[in-house]
Symmetry: C2
Subunit: 335 residues, 2 copies
């Protein structure tokens, strides 16, 4: 940044991020042909330098629209059938109505859609935005962080940002279901964590260790939220810890993969090995045996997000920058 009183510029951002001026411009203008890690570096540099773009344009945006957009980066079919997104949108919509705001829902399912929605938000079409199913790697998030539109995210806090957030209790949920598994007499537990890049991975592993205490004998990470990843992780853990009698997986799909490998190895669920997951995805109840898991209260998360975003619009102080929503253990036959 230059000396004295001068404001940070796009060149400062480019220098700190170690990218070209043109790349910073692309991120700021919402182009999606930018690698996630690059977009992330630019967003971090914006925070570090305190760069504020379009100061003049932003000062013009004084007119309130009394609308809040809920943006979900999700396939349209998935959004309406997935167990948490619709209740979250419903909870947010109801509470925003109570606060006197009209919610508009925008599903972002393509780079083109991301550009369009980013432009609407950056252009002041809404008073605020609730971001759902997005990570801090998302170029749309990087772009929105450069506006002065109030934002909240349905997620763990984004590293390097101060965007308020609300999420299910990842640590507490994992701890509670692990304690329940221990209470059934299991004493040699392993955990299948999520991918290293997922913010929930360390939290669910932390909950596992809090709940398992001395019964924890090992854990591993995976490269994706897929059943195949769960199968690979289970094979590896079985080899390392052939005497294991309990598995705590960071998602239901990982747990499903794990159960398949255990079955092939002649280890019965739940007789020989108890298995639990997280999310209460549709696959959980359909598993044979049905999977014990953690069910999030997505509606309560939506309500919390609405409260937080309205408080920001009104310039009120938030009691907490990150709100943790309690969840429930759903105990079924797999453990």
């Amino acid at each position: 940044m230059s000396e004295g009183t001068s404001r940070p510029t796009m060149h400062d951002v480019a220098r700190v991020a170690g990218v070209s001026h043109a790349t910073v411009s692309r991120v700021l203008n919402g182009h999606t042909n930018v690698a996630p890690a690059t977009a992330r570096a630019v967003a971090d540099a914006i925070v570090t330098t305190g760069y504020v773009p379009n100061r003049a344009a932003r000062s013009l945006r004084v007119q309130s629209t009394d609308t809040v957009v809920l943006v979900a980066r999700e396939n349209v079919n998935v959004f309406y059938t997935e167990p948490t997104l619709s209740p979250m949108a419903s909870g947010a919509n109801l509470r925003l109505s109570e606060h006197g705001y009209q919610m508009l829902l925008a599903l972002v399912d393509s780079p083109r859609s991301a550009e369009r929605v980013g432009s609407l938000i950056a252009g002041g079409s809404f008073d605020a935005a609730i971001l759902v199913a997005m990570t801090n790697e998302d170029p749309l998030v990087a772009r929105l962080m450069t506006t002065n539109i109030p934002l909240v995210t349905a997620s763990t806090p984004f590293p390097g940002s101060d965007i308020p957030s609300a999420d299910t209790d990842n640590v507490g949920g994992a701890r509670a279901i692990t304690e329940r598994l221990v209470a059934t007499g299991r004493s040699k537990l392993v955990a299948i964590g999520g991918p290293a890049w997922a913010p929930v991975t360390p939290m669910r592993l932390e909950g596992f260790h809090q709940g398992a205490k001395n019964a924890a004998i090992g854990h591993t990470a995976v490269d994706g939220w897929t059943m195949a990843a769960g199968q690979r992780a289970m094979s590896e853990l079985l080899e390392r810890h052939p005497d294991l009698d309990g598995v705590v997986a960071a998602s239901d799909l990982l747990a499903t993969g794990a159960m398949r490998v255990l079955n092939e190895a002649g280890r019965r669920t739940p007789q020989d090995v108890g298995v639990v997951g997280f999310d209460d995805a549709p696959v959980a109840a359909l598993n044979d045996p049905p999977l014990s898991t953690v069910r999030s209260d997505a509606r309560a998360t939506g309500i919390a997000l609405a409260d937080m975003v309205v408080a920001q619009i009104r310039g009120q102080e938030l009691p907490q920058r990150h709100v943790v929503i309690p969840n429930d253990v759903v105990w079924r036959e797999s453990a």
Copy 2:
């Protein structure tokens, strides 16, 4: 209307509608403290006179937003759990994405919400609007008809308007399920129609008569889409036609009320009387015995609405002003 070349004015609209200038103004400005029949009369008078409001303001709206709003007048909780609205929104969203448009979903659940969404649409925030779960009595519809924003409705055609529309095949669905009932050996059929004000009522009754032919021995209307209305109608029909052996109801809730009355009268379903409904609402499968009904393809309706609204935005001729979407008979134990 005045003589010569002068354009129709709000006074012309007021005169034709038989209301005050202030009332016309209230309707045009989206106030909701207007009786539905009055709003309707104003809308009709706008069509009759050819009145075009805000000509200057409208000519300013030249900028395309590449967005389409889907407005559903529905309780938020109902929207996300009701069997047809989510699939309709999902189908419209997917097809709009294919056409290069971003869909925004707005649920209108209060007069305040109706005013806000009406203002956004009238103000040119979107290129077009898809109207769902609305009737031609809705003040929001009357207001939107005075704009030049392309509209489509998920409904039967609105009387006195040329808004393009798409809807499930009310006549064909009622005919098909009635024919199926006749095929089970029933020969003395009655119909419980919907409320007189509902546009689908005459269509579903027409389908009943087409399917029943000589087996039709009577029908009645109701005052609302409620189970209690179905009970009252069934009591009346049982008194008039004690030998009836089949009931075709215009909705599943009406059918549920009818089954309750039949049960109290000692007439078993399906042994003594076969009962069928319409909609495949959640109550249908939960009934004892489960209800035979007509299932709409709401997703196909959403896709058709998206195609129609995009054609209008692009100034293309619509092959049909009203599109009828085929539906399926779902045959269960009640008949």
